[in-house]
Symmetry: C3
Subunit: 115 residues, 3 copies
Amino acid sequence: MIKRLVPGKRLSQATIHGNTVYLAGQVPDDYTGNVEAQAAQVLAKIDALLKDAGTDKTKMLSVTVWLPNMGDFAKFNTVWDAWVPKDAAPARACVEARLADPSIKVEIAVIAAIS
Amino acid sequence: MIKRLVPGKRLSQATIHGNTVYLAGQVPDDYTGNVEAQAAQVLAKIDALLKDAGTDKTKMLSVTVWLPNMGDFAKFNTVWDAWVPKDAAPARACVEARLADPSIKVEIAVIAAIS
Amino acid sequence: MIKRLVPGKRLSQATIHGNTVYLAGQVPDDYTGNVEAQAAQVLAKIDALLKDAGTDKTKMLSVTVWLPNMGDFAKFNTVWDAWVPKDAAPARACVEARLADPSIKVEIAVIAAIS
């Protein structure tokens, strides 16, 4: 009934239930970049997971963004705004939170519909 | 397949998928009030979005509340408790997080069912 | 249309809509323990709520973990890793956030499918 993408012992990168997919909080693979570089990596990982789930960023329903430094809000949004589909933007909340590693500058979780 | 309310380039204020609606994190329009005044504004915006989605606060499923100052918890709850339907309270989590503007004293995201 | 578990005036401990259940943020009953003890209590409460909803931890879709001290991340994961079903781990995000009481060391919210 539930399909899992990249299943692991601690978490799965995505779970699919009916026509909804839930992504785990995505962080960059390379923690050394600035917030723009890390955001680009995170959004690329989201694109790939959504594709594997049989959907894409035009079907996103709800997105939660965590920034450990809210001073990065404008910089993050520059990357986000260029990536998000203009006629299909999801509901979104963006709040400040320290993340699992102090070098991570952005983490994003997504709930999306599956076409 | 997905209906969006108040769609924007960065985010939509709500997305509707099947019989579920996801609201973006709602913040007050006026950042100058105290937490009670800001909470009242946020809850009024939630009422309006839920109405536009064809539902209301008695159908809320899950609510996330972010307070930048957890010292406001009791004050926020005074406003919340007066607003939430007594026999139809949603699941809720309330945690502390700095928000996009340091003057914002509360942000709330909602997932609700549509009748 | 919506079934609620442990309904209260402020929140319900869980809401069921269709074949999805949303749990309120779960905190321990006893705030005096260390993070491992508190995590064990929280996970036991999740088990009990999922059971009451007609499901179990193998059907979890999305989990959000809030730790007020990210320095507890490894300790929390020791308890989590022993509890989470190995072939059925949910999507998960874990971020730092101060919680309603400064003695609470972990809060967890869950979205799960119902069999």
